[in-house]
């Protein structure tokens, strides 16, 4: 069963075609990574899925429902959530309050405090729970935003460079967490440049280049592809 | 002397937009009070002023009218420049049954037993001004007026009196308060080709009209009931932008009579930096003397007693501009109306004057405060109900 499908998705800015006829399908329960050179259009693709940008043409289907014209918040309510590339948090609110706002959707008032504490613990932010989110370190902000995204208990989780700025250990921990969530039924689509992480989580990998699907396959197939090495990976991973 | 003082509340705008025309009113009241106290007060009681700066802000009038009446317990209040400020405080004066003097030229029509109005009103100014202008310059009239009560009601008076005198309105334009740019208006006037322009401009922004009309070489004579007498535009703008402006005033500092000269002398002695002594300063000054007479004759500051004196119909003082008498029906005041003509070099000459011009309209229209007190403001198009 597919959870997400795009059909001939096009978006251009001025003369620049950022995505060109992208046909992409994501199976329910999959862990999928989207990789590709800087400026390939990965973040833009996410924004199209979320409704932050309107496509020039093409269609987006979520769980077989056409959501191309749906408002962003409607898409979220259908079960998509996102962690952006640049941390999007509520800077002047405490770390705790950030999570409360995400959690209050599903969690009854009585359990809210407890639930937030659990999530804080999980994100290793318990110590900083009263800290204003804007004063967290860069990595902590990333954690917080991931926490807000998973707090929504989405069916599809979009992560734009979730591990940027994390130590290898933390990256690994993030991967494990995603596996756990995946086991609970969450589909994950992540943009990453960290190949170790991609290897750790991805069932399948799609390479985007110049707005087009350039290659698709398992991580081993992709890293073995000399064309991908040339445009993207470089010598180390080739 | 330990006679209890008579307290006079003074609510005038000493800052903000209207300060230009009203600071002099406060000074005039201070001058009169000082004179009266030097001469032994009112019936032996000294006059004490309770002053507040109302900052050209209606809400301050509301706040301080309550304060002077309730807290300071003044015997009378001298208050207000703009008609809006008067309307803002009038309900409060009525509520506490106080006595307020409105010492300002205005659009007319206030029929309220708690108010005495010493300023000139349209019938006094236009019934004199317009026939003169039509006779001397021609019948085609263009009015530009501030787009609010004063301007609209005055324009209505102009319309009516022009018609009565065989003139024609070739244009009428209303300018929102605060407008300072007049290019289009100047062009409209040129298109209408009037013989003279009636300018009923209010506020400092609108006064910019004169400079701009002058710069565009409009070159038309002007007539006004409000300009020159209040905002001394002829002193503030460079000649000859106000050339051939005619204004009917009950006073300006240039009035060339012994009483006026004496007044100017006393005023300048006390306030040497006063930029100009305008009509409203003179009215405020005279109003203090009117009040003195009322209290002395009533032997009381009680409003009912004072109004009995007014009803006698002979309360008069000689103000700096001429005699002023209170009309019992409307509690407005008769005036000597001077025609001020601004010459090319912005000096003022007085081609003519009219004595004892009555504020007749309210009384004729049916306001009679000796009979009833509607506490309303009427206009020619919204007169008192026919049965009185």
């Amino acid at each position: 069963m597919t959870i997400l499908e795009t059909r001939k998705l096009n978006k251009h800015f001025g003369g620049l075609h950022v995505t060109g006829n992208v046909d992409f399908t994501l199976q329910t329960g999959e862990m999928h990574c989207l990789i590709g050179p800087n400026g390939a259009g990965k973040s833009t693709f996410f924004r199209l899925i979320l409704g932050e940008h309107q496509p020039d043409s093409g269609q987006i289907l979520f769980a077989d429902e056409d959501i191309t014209r749906a408002k962003p918040f409607q898409r979220i309510r259908k079960g998509i959530s996102v962690k952006f590339q640049v941390p999007g948090i509520f800077k002047e609110l405490s770390t705790r309050q950030n999570l409360v706002i995400a959690l209050q959707h599903h969690v009854p008032a009585g359990d809210l405090t407890e639930e937030v504490d659990r999530l804080l613990e999980f994100l290793k932010l318990s110590q900083d729970h009263t800290q204003l989110a804007g004063n967290l370190s860069h990595g902590q902000k990333q954690w917080l935003e991931i926490g807000m995204a998973i707090a929504l208990k989405p069916r599809l989780l979009l992560l734009d460079e979730p591990t940027a700025g994390m130590t290898p250990d933390e990256t690994h921990a993030t991967g494990e967490m995603l596996h756990r969530l995946n086991a609970e039924g969450m589909t994950v689509l992540a943009v990453e440049h960290d190949m170790a992480f991609v290897r750790q989580i991805a069932h399948r990998v799609t390479v985007l280049h110049l707005g087009k699907v350039f290659a698709q396959g398992s991580i081993n197939e992709i890293t073995a592809d000399p064309r991908v090495a040339k445009i993207y990976l470089g010598e180390v991973h080739a | 002397q330990d006679a209890e003082p008579i307290k006079l509340g003074v609510l005038e705008d000493q800052s903000g937009d209207f300060a230009l025309a009203t600071i002099g009113k406060v000074h005039a009241i201070q001058l009169a009070a000082e004179e009266i106290n030097a001469a032994g007060g009112i019936d032996g009681r000294p006059l004490e002023l309770v002053e507040y700066d109302t900052q050209s802000d209606n809400t301050r009038f509301q706040e301080f009218m309550r304060r002077v009446l309730q807290r300071d317990k003044v015997d009378a209040v001298f208050a207000g420049f703009s008609s809006a400020s008067r309307e803002a405080y009038r309900p409060i004066v009525n509520q506490f049954d106080g006595l307020a003097f409105y010492n300002n030229q205005y659009e007319g029509g206030v029929c309220d037993a708690n108010m005495i109005v010493t300023g000139a009103v349209p019938e006094q100014q236009f019934s004199t001004l317009l026939p003169y202008m039509i006779e001397n310059y021609g019948p085609n009239v263009y009015t530009i007026a501030a787009d609010y009560n004063f301007g609209q009601i005055s324009a209505e008076w102009v319309r009516n009196i022009v018609a009565e005198n065989g003139g024609t309105m070739v244009g009428e334009e209303f300018i929102p308060l605060g407008v300072s740019q007049f290019s289009q208006t100047i062009q409209n006037i040129q298109a209408a080709k009037p013989d003279f322009v009636v300018t009923l401009l209010v506020g400092t922004a609108q006064a910019s009209y004169y400079e701009q009309a002058g710069a565009a070489n409009l070159g038309l004579p002007m007539a006004s009931s409000v300009n020159v007498g209040q905002g001394y535009e002829h002193k503030r703008f460079t000649p000859p932008s106000l050339k051939d402006m005619y204004a009917t005033v009950n006073y300006v500092e240039e009035v060339d009579t012994p009483a006026s000269k004496e007044f100017v002398e006393k005023f300048r002695a006390k306030f040497p930096d006063e930029p100009y002594i305008n009509q409203e300063a003179s009215n405020s000054y005279a109003a203090v003397y009117l009040y003195k007479q009322l209290v002395e004759r009533a032997k009381s500051t009680d409003l009912a007693e004072i109004r009995k004196v007014i009803a006698e119909g002979d309360v008069c003082v000689d103000g700096p501009g001429g005699q002023m008498c209170i009309d019992p029906k409307s509690q407005h005041v008769s005036h000597t109306i001077h025609l001020a003509h601004v010459t090319e070099d912005h000096s003022v000459e007085f081609p003519t004057k009219w004595d004892a011009i009555q504020p007749y309209w309210l009384g004729e229209a049916g306001c009679d405060l000796t009979v009833s007190d509607p506490s309303e403001q009427y206009t020619p198009s919204n007169p008192p109900p026919a049965n009185g």
Partner: protein
């Protein structure tokens, strides 16, 4: 025992991360202040009582703006539009309906309702049109200035609704004050004792209700939108509805202020919607500390009182002193004057303790 837990339950509703002031100490202080406010008329003359009612009148608009701006992050520069609309509405209704049978109270409700309706229409236009930031400020300012300029030229007799003349710039007067029907003669609420208690009660109710609102889920979302509207939307909230909701509630409170003010002085004027009038609520709320209802309330009251005192005793220097006070407050008390004073006294207190 059950009592205290119920009490705690209520407290939980009005307390939370979105409001300063919590715990028994705060509420004890609150009760004390309220008691003082109730006892105040016994020690004050009727001028002071009426004057305080006048100050109270404005506080509703200030709290409403705190909700819209301080909590929701939408700077409305046009709250006076709703103030004016409700004031005129009250005037038109009561002049036509009269003051018998509690019709003035009905008029109050209808006038506030009308301003809420107008806010809903304008708010729909603004928020569903995705207008925000300075654009929102300028549009709302433009709306209030249009109303002002329009009302200013309604001097002519053609501008009347029923027997109520709008009366242009001079303003509309002679509407009756709020009147409570009472067996054996209705009570006319002149600016005196009964009006004082009524306004005070309204104030307490509105204050507590707003505290509940901002500490509810609605309030959480509202501050989230202020901090990062995109993120809030990406958490699945239709931010437009929340913004609209806050706008309508806050604007109705401006309307309530308008009605109370109109009834207080039997007068309403277009100048109440002009540029200066429009800027004042923003100044009060900002000086008080816009991010919190309590600081807004206390700060606004303080500014109103201090500025009136200055006008009374400061002669021509009043405006200068006011200006200096505003500048200094902003510079030394970034969180508003109330928190500035609280912080300063804490520091003083601590230093004394340390000695």
């Amino acid at each position: 025992m059950a009592e205290t837990s119920r009490l705690r339950g209520i407290l939980r509703l009005v307390e939370g991360p979105q409001t300063l002031g919590r715990g028994p100490k705060f509420w004890a202080g609150f009760a004390l202040v309220l008691a003082c406010a109730c006892a105040y008329p016994m020690f004050a003359d009727s001028y002071d009582v009426g004057n305080n009612v006048y100050f109270f009148n404005w506080l509703f608009m200030a709290m409403g703006l705190s909700l819209i701006w301080g909590y929701g992050g939408s700077l409305s520069f046009g709250q006076t539009a709703f103030f004016g609309i409700a004031g005129y509405c009250y005037g038109v209704l009561t002049i036509n309906l009269g003051d018998a049978y509690g019709l003035t109270l009905l008029s109050l409700v209808m006038a506030v309702g009308f301003s809420a309706f107008f806010a809903a229409v304008l708010g729909y236009f603004l928020f569903f049109g995705r207008i925000n930031g300075v654009f929102l400020g300028i549009v709302s300012l433009s709306v209030t200035l249009v109303l002002e300029r329009f009302m200013a030229q309604t001097a002519g007799p053609q501008w009347a609704i029923g027997s109520a003349r709008l009366n242009g710039f001079n303003g509309m007067g002679s509407m009756p004050s709020l009147t409570i029907p009472w067996p054996g003669g209705s009570i006319v609420l002149f600016p005196d004792l009964p009006l004082y208690y009524l306004t005070l009660a309204l104030l307490v109710v509105v204050y507590l209700a707003l505290r509940m609102l901002v500490n509810s889920r609605f309030g959480n979302v509202l501050v989230a939108i202020r901090e990062n509207p995109q993120r809030a939307e990406m958490l699945g909230y239709d931010i437009r509805k929340f913004q609209l909701g806050a706008f309508v509630i806050g604007s109705s409170l401006a309307g309530l202020s308008g009605v109370l003010y109109t009834s207080w002085g039997n007068y309403i004027t277009p100048a109440s919607m002009g540029m200066t009038a429009a800027a004042l609520p923003i100044v009060w709320v900002a000086v008080g500390g816009r991010g919190d209802l309590t600081t807004t309330l206390v700060g606004t009251l303080a500014v109103l009182i201090v500025f009136q005192m200055l006008t009374i005793y400061g002669s021509q220097y009043a405006l200068i002193v006011m200006g200096v006070l505003l500048v200094v407050t902003v510079l030394v008390a970034p969180r508003g004057i109330v928190m500035g004073i609280v912080d300063a006294s804490r520091r003083l207190f601590r230093r004394k303790e340390a000695r």
